[in-house]
């Protein structure tokens, strides 16, 4: 501490005569480490990705020839368009089902623990727990649950289904794991939203003779709508970026039925070393996510009065 005290004194002495040079740069000194990290590992690579997306690259990722929007055209309409639009369609379906599933789990679990009962605290800890669980570890245990010969699911159902290698089942199964993982965060936010609904609304509804379903329809849902909207955005963005479970459980297969756009970026860049094309895919994905986030910011501005 004595060292920092010594450095303080010159600044302090000259304070009366206005700001010293040190005073002017001090705020930036506090920001320096943060700006360094963001500069080197966020802003620079982001610009570089955009730059690479307009180049043909060699297998070391060095830009070799400027090709303009050719990488984009190849993906959107050209030689790789079939694979790209397939991954887009897989991703959209995945996002849709996981968001609906995650929200439903969130609403149901939140309603279940809304009233106090013995074991209430335990149940809510369990419902929130998936936030702490690594998706890679969860994928490993699902790998065993879905194992064709000794897995739990086949033991319970008495079947011999190869869940992760049968085109009818793999996609739904992956969605279920993603919903399981999303339950924690959905439960935390939705139950908090539910706690904020004033109790007297329910009381006056009871006096007016409303039944449980009417109360849910006309009190719980409308009061919860800002929370739900916010949660939808979080779920959509998270689902868009799901990678680990696909990488560990299916590798995009069978027959590309789980080849999400994020996984196709990984394949393009780190298996096929087509960095330019992968960069173009990343930029497309970034634009999609940016639009979703902007919608959130807009909508949040409107819902401020609500809460």
């Amino acid at each position: 501490m004595s060292a920092s005290r010594a450095s303080a004194s010159p600044a302090k002495l000259r304070r009366s005569s206005g700001l010293t040079f040190y005073d002017k740069i001090e705020p930036w000194l506090f920001l320096l480490p943060a700006l360094l990290v963001f500069g080197v590992f966020l802003y620079y690579p982001f610009v570089k990705t955009a730059y690479l997306s307009t180049f043909l690259t060699n297998k070391y990722g060095e830009a070799k020839a400027f090709v303009g929007f050719k990488n984009y055209m190849d993906i959107l309409t050209g030689s790789r368009s079939r694979e790209f639009w397939n991954s887009m369609w897989v991703t959209i379906r995945f996002v849709f089902f996981v968001t609906i599933g995650g929200l439903s789990m969130g609403v149901i679990t939140s309603m279940l623990i809304d009233k106090k009962f013995p074991g209430n605290a335990f149940a809510s800890a369990i419902f929130a727990m998936p936030i702490a669980i690594a998706s890679s570890a969860a994928s490993m245990s699902f790998k065993m649950i879905l194992h064709p010969s000794i897995g739990l699911l086949n033991k319970i159902l008495g079947t011999q289904i190869n869940w992760l290698n049968d085109i009818r089942y793999t996609f739904p199964v992956i969605c279920c794991l993603a919903v399981w993982l999303a339950t924690g965060i959905n439960f935390i936010f939705i139950s908090a939203g539910m706690r904020n609904i004033p109790e007297d609304l329910y009381e006056s509804a009871s006096i007016d003779g409303a039944n449980a379903w009417q109360k849910f329809r006309s009190i719980t849902l409308p009061c919860l709508s800002p929370t739900l909207f916010f949660q939808i955005i979080i779920d959509v963005i998270n689902a868009f970026q799901t990678f680990n479970i696909v990488k560990i459980l299916t590798l995009g297969g069978p027959l590309e039925s789980t080849n999400t756009i994020v996984y196709s970026i990984y394949l393009d860049a780190f298996r096929n070393f087509r960095f330019g094309s992968a960069a173009a895919r990343s930029i497309i994905l970034f634009l999609i996510i940016m639009v979703i986030t902007l919608i959130q910011f807009k909508a949040e501005g409107r819902s401020v009065h609500y809460s």
Binding site: M1, R5, S7, A8, A11, K24, E26, P27, F30, L31, P33, A34, V37, F41, Y44, P45, F46, K48, T49, L52, Y60, L112, I113, K115, F117, P118, G119, A123, I126, F127, A128, P130, I131, A132, I133, A134, S135, S136, A137, S139, M140, S141, F142, K143, M144, I145, W180, A192, G209, F230, I237, K247, I248, F275, A279, S282, L285, F286, I289, E300
Partner: protein, 286 residues
């Protein structure tokens, strides 16, 4: 209220009986959902303690066999991976606590030109998905010969917009007079931050720390890309690659999963309230 008594009179139950009925109904409905979340973990644990000869036909072991845990610690590289994970997650946590506190201090206590613009630029990074930067980051660190080192796992996560935002939210609740009084007493900003602000924001820092540690402990893709030797590999990669190496040793694999879940679940159990509050505060403008 009259309504309640009318309807309970009709069904022949007192209000207390009705409440008890509802409570038990609620518990009954709750149970399957609790099981749904717990079963994968319970099953993983069961598989890790099943004696090898019972693996194919039993779910509940005849006796608990913990030898596979011993094997994980003696025969596999998992202990090394665990140490690596602790080094990486611990360093990132400490580093982010420092960088985020400093940046948040600048944004909330100091006045300077361009403050809002810089703050918005940092918040905007939350919009950039990891795919948009990970390819270039990989190429950069490969060119610098940073692959297979600890710092390649630590430095890219040296700061986060979420952390800065979280700490700033907390600092904004401080009274401005506190800062002025400290300045008048000759306390410079560095000392003010270290000896007054940081000790006063222990709960927020704790929440941030727990959040970052969990995130890093569970991190998968970046370590997968930039490490290839056991000396720096983190535990998630180690566990996930066991299936490829030795898919026959199911007990071993499942024990490794349980072992790598212990630290993150402990943090969750001990920091649950703190962690959830932190998440909520950060999500206000996540």
């Amino acid at each position: 209220m009259s309504n309640v008594s009318v309807s309970s009179a009709r069904s022949g139950l007192t209000r207390r009986q009705r409440n008890a009925l509802w409570t038990s109904l609620r518990m009954l409905v709750c149970l399957p959902f609790v099981l749904l979340i717990m079963v994968p973990l319970l099953y993983t644990f069961m598989m890790s303690v099943l004696p090898a000869d019972e693996l194919y036909y039993r779910l509940w072991p005849s006796h608990f066999d913990f030898t596979s845990y011993l094997l994980v610690f003696t025969k596999t590289k998992i202990p090394r991976h665990i140490i690596n994970s602790f080094v990486v997650a611990g360093s990132v946590t400490i580093l982010q606590m420092i960088t985020c506190s400093m940046a948040a201090f600048s944004f909330s206590f100091l006045n300077f030109k361009g403050r809002n613009v810089v703050f918005m630029c940092i918040l905007a990074t939350m919009m950039v998905p990891w795919e948009a930067t990970i390819i270039s980051n990989y190429l950069t660190v490969a060119k610098w010969n940073w692959l297979d080192t600890y710092h390649v796992l630590i430095l890219p996560y040296g700061c986060s917009a979420m952390g800065i935002f979280l700490m700033r939210q907390h600092y904004l609740t401080f009274a401005k007079e506190l800062h002025e009084a400290a300045r008048l007493d000759g306390c410079n900003n560095w000392r003010f931050l270290a000896t007054i602000v940081v000790p006063l924001s222990r709960p927020a820092l704790g929440a941030l720390g727990a959040y970052i540690f969990l995130q890093q402990w569970n991190n998968y893709l970046w370590p997968l890309l930039v490490t290839s030797t056991d000396n720096v590999r983190t535990v998630q990669i180690g566990v996930a690659s066991m299936y490829d190496i030795d898919s026959e040793q199911i007990n071993l694999m499942m024990s490794a999963v349980i072992i790598c879940l212990v630290p993150s679940l402990s943090i969750f159990v001990f920091m649950q309230k703190n962690l959830i509050n932190g998440l909520m505060a950060g999500a206000v403008k996540g």
